[in-house]
């Protein structure tokens, strides 16, 4: 009989092998799913994973990769800091929305300024918006011991309602002929998050994501705050013994992840999305949870994982337009990735043993 046995020390091999194994298992299980839906699984997998990089339209799609990966990486790094500390912010989607609204609102309030300072101020406003939204579950947790998973998640739906209100009400384009949605930032140069280098899809959000990854890596490995985050997640009582205040850590981690999600929302609304609209949010805040785990909660791993998930987004859109695959199939595909990741991850800390003699 097979038995799971705890390893004396976590396996280095499986720590790194888990993500690729999970991706391969997802391809196999996803392929079976696509075959059952009546499409050629090899064609789908090729469309999702190969064509965006090397196919006919790769010259355009490659740029799209960083556009999608940027916000995923930015949000996932914030989430990973919290997850490392055992603080579960599941509501990044809401913080992303509020960050976008704050950032856009500051810009739209002074429309049509040409000041070069407006964009930096909007960046600060976006981060602040996400931070404020994350402080709600943080303070409720530290004051009343509420569960941050539930509160942050429910606040996503509150944020969506505010988003709807913003696009049909207080941020609506006065020259929009009654259509919902704010002014478009593409015709507001001072406040626009334009591409810095279009073929790569690089805009300020992408720059922020990559810089944040490096800073977060340094924080976790070299800085005392990073040590405290890791310690609190692994051994909460040892963390208190070390001198970490649990409440302060909750505020720090929730605040950081909220600010980064807000930042991502601000870069998105002023760049690729262009305007505040009812369906502005596309689930980056939730997909970033998968990115965080696929990247092993390690900032550098998250950069890699961000690109893999971006691939499923870009390739998935291709598959749905060229092969008629429903969008939901792609979401199932992404969900499978998290499932296999967590399943294979057991092998990092446990190993299978053939139980002999015992029963």
């Amino acid at each position: 009989m097979l038995r799971l046995e705890k390893r004396p020390t976590p396996s280095k091999f499986w720590l790194y092998a888990t993500p690729p194994v999970a991706v391969i298992l997802t391809m196999i299980a996803g392929g079976i799913l696509f075959a059952l839906m009546g499409t050629n699984p090899f064609e789908v997998i090729r469309t999702i994973f190969w064509d965006p990089l090397f196919g006919e339209f790769a010259f355009y799609l490659r740029g799209q990769l960083l556009v999608k990966a940027g916000p995923l990486i930015l949000i996932a790094i914030g989430l990973a800091l919290g997850f490392r500390a055992g603080i579960w912010n599941i509501g990044a989607e809401g913080q992303y929305i509020i960050g976008a609204i704050f950032g856009a609102a500051v810009g739209l309030a002074v429309f049509p300024t040409e000041s070069r300072w407006i964009f930096p101020v909007m960046i600060v406003a976006g981060a602040f918006g996400g931070w404020v939204w994350a402080m709600i579950p943080a303070i409720l947790k530290t004051r009343f011991n509420t569960n941050e998973i539930l509160v942050s998640l429910m606040l996503v739906y509150v944020a969506e309602t505010i988003l709807a209100k913003a696009s049909t009400g207080f941020l609506k384009n006065p020259e929009g002929m009654g259509f919902p949605g704010s002014r478009n930032f593409s015709s507001y140069p001072a406040a626009q998050n334009a591409f810095l280098y279009e073929p790569l899809g690089l805009h300020w959000g992408g720059v922020a994501a990559l810089v944040t990854a490096v800073l977060a890596y340094i924080l976790l490995t070299r800085h005392q705050a990073g040590f405290q985050i890791r310690l609190a997640g692994q051994a909460p009582r040892a963390a208190r013994f070390h001198g970490v205040s649990p409440a302060r850590l909750v505020v720090l981690c929730m605040g950081l992840s909220g600010a980064l999600a807000g930042l991502a929302g601000m870069f998105e609304v002023t760049g690729p999305a262009g305007q505040i609209s009812i369906d502005f949010n596309t689930g980056y805040g939730f997909t970033a949870i998968i990115v965080a785990f696929l990247g092993r909660l390690n900032p550098l791993g998250i950069v890699l994982a961000g690109f893999i998930l971006a691939l499923t987004y870009v390739g998935g859109e291709m598959a749905s337009t060229s092969l008629g695959l429903p969008d939901a199939a792609i979401q199932v595909f992404q969900g499978m990735l998290l499932f296999f990741l967590l399943a294979v991850d057991v092998l990092t800390n446990y190993r299978f043993r053939l139980a002999v003699g015992a029963h």
Binding site: P8, T9, P10, R222, H223, Q224, A225, F227, R230, L231, Q234, A235, R237, A238, A239, R240, F241, H242, G243, S245, G357, A358
Partner: protein
């Protein structure tokens, strides 16, 4: 053949038992026998294989090879229920009782076919009176002392009318008076023909109680002896396999007060914990204060309140006269206080982190291992290596996870971590718990050396012998209250027992009986 074996018919014979776990042989070719009504000691250090051996006798673990016979018949219990049916019962070191249920309900839970509650309650009362173990069947277990809880476990076993009663370290939770009463009960059982397999590493107890002793070292039987005919020292050396050195105390002049605690009351943050009630004491430079007490009387809370994990009003705790009661662990370390909690896996150390990271856990402040918030891992590693060398920690290197080390080795590392920081106040809870005798002696010596250098030391321990060996003054923590510290010199065991709160209403029963 000794006299005892000649007189008594054989009850249990263990022949050539071997049991291996991955990476360690717990028992290797172990043989011994117990006669009916014999009190037989199983003696050995932590990790000598005592627990594995009795778990095999009780049917919890199966031997790889070897045979057991019970009253001449082959005995291979597949599970504890089978062992109980054949008359083998066991009282574990850690009780398995539900605090929210009463005594009778707890006893009923352990039975396969419990009788109606009223009948059971009457039986419990009868057995408890017969053996001088007073116990009210209707009391909540949550309200009982550790000694009383042990009585529940013992009575639970006696109701099965066992032929062999296994007791695993039964006295570690008892006051000296309670130990005396337990021994009376055990001797009575022995006279009535029940054999007792008594596991301990406390030699004086074994000399006082046991007829025969089997001594284990590293999974093997190294000697059998009649404890009454041996000195404790002889048995200790058989157990450890080397000559033992008693720690040397340097008579240092006592200086001014380094740690002062006055009228400290804090609520316990632990469920079912004990709150501290108006605790006051002072420790001078160079002084070792020993705090005794049965587990669960506020020891953990006292450590938390001193380390800074539990805060109080500023003037309740003073280091060198400076109020620190409202400061957290980091600031207290800066002020010169280091602390070592009892629970190594998860409190004193992060099990999944490396020894280097665990060195940083408490030493960061005093060893100056950070610069502008950034950790100097090179210096931290050097400190970890210093501890490993200085405290003889057996590890492949400083990068292994703390949980990969054995309990004793990790304890040596953690003691080294605190004692090598040059602190002026040192607080330790259970310094040698689970550590082998040689390492324990080394740790005690290091504690005394720090005191000799002028540190004020508080040692909280349940091991009275340890406290008497290292402490200059002695106090007892009982239900969250601390007795007034007294000089250790000249204290008798009886006085200590009374300080520990006597025997929780048990004297009466035996005087009547």
């Amino acid at each position: 053949m000794t006299r005892a074996e000649l007189l008594r018919p054989e009850l249990l014979r263990v022949e050539g038992i071997t049991k291996a776990y991955p990476g360690v042989v717990a028992n290797s070719d172990v043989s011994f026998s117990i006669g009916e009504g014999e009190i037989h000691a199983l003696l050995g250090e932590n990790g000598a294989g005592k627990s594995t051996l009795v778990k095999m006798i009780y049917g919890l673990v199966r031997p790889d090879s070897g045979t057991m016979t019970l009253r001449g018949a082959a005995y291979q219990p597949g599970k504890p229920a089978e062992a109980r049916r054949l008359g083998v019962a066991m009282v574990f070191q850690h009780f398995s009782l539900f605090e929210a249920l009463n005594v009778a309900e707890n006893v009923a839970l352990g039975m396969e076919k419990p009788p109606p509650m009223r009948e059971l309650a009457a039986k419990i009362r009868a057995v408890s009176e017969e053996y001088g173990l007073p116990l009210d069947p209707s009391r909540m277990v949550g309200d009982l002392s550790a000694g009383e809880r042990q009585r529940v476990e013992i009575i639970r076993c006696l109701l099965q009318d066992p032929k062999l009663l296994i007791m695993d370290e039964p006295t570690s939770v008892l006051t000296p008076q309670e130990v005396e009463i337990l021994f009376k009960t055990l001797r009575q059982l022995s006279r009535e023909g029940t054999a007792i397999l008594y596991i301990s590493h406390k030699l004086e107890e074994i000399k006082a109680l046991c007829d025969e002793a089997t001594i284990l070292r590293r999974g093997r039987v190294v000697a059998t002896c009649t404890p009454r005919e041996r000195t404790a020292r002889e048995m200790a050396e058989l157990m450890v396999g080397q000559a033992l050195k008693a720690p040397e105390r340097r008579p240092g002049a006592k200086g001014e007060v380094a740690l002062g605690v006055s009228d400290l009351s804090v609520n316990s943050p632990i469920p079912f914990g004990t709150s501290l009630k108006a605790v006051s004491f002072t420790v001078a430079k160079g002084e070792v204060l020993g705090i005794a007490g049965v587990a669960g009387n506020g020891q953990d809370e006292l450590l938390l309140a001193l380390s800074g994990e539990l805060k109080s009003a500023a003037d309740k705790v003073r280091i060198a006269g400076q109020p620190v009661g409202d400061l957290g662990p980091t600031e207290r370390r800066r002020a010169g206080l280091v602390a070592a909690p009892e629970d190594r896996y998860g409190h004193a150390a992060a099990p999944d982190m490396s020894l280097v990271e665990n060195a940083f856990l408490t030493a960061g402040v005093r060893k100056g291992l950070t610069k502008h918030g950034f950790i100097d891992w090179g210096a931290t590693r050097a400190f970890a290596e210093e501890i490993i060398a200085g405290y003889d920690v057996r590890t492949p290197g400083p990068d292994v996870a703390a949980r990969a080390l054995s309990g004793g080795n990790l304890q040596k590392f953690l003691m080294g971590r605190e004692l090598m920081q040059g602190a002026s106040v040192i607080v330790i809870n259970q310094p040698t718990w689970g550590v082998d005798a040689a390492a324990a002696a080394q740790i005690r010596q290091q504690v005394l050396d720090r005191a000799g250098e002028g540190a004020a030391v508080v040692v909280i321990s349940q091991d009275l012998d340890e406290l008497l060996e290292v402490a200059d003054s002695f106090a007892v923590l009982n239900e969250g209250r601390l007795t007034r510290p007294r000089p250790t010199e000249g204290l008798t065991m009886d006085e200590i027992g009374l300080m520990m709160g006597g025997a929780h209403g048990m004297e009466v029963a035996h005087h009547v009986a």
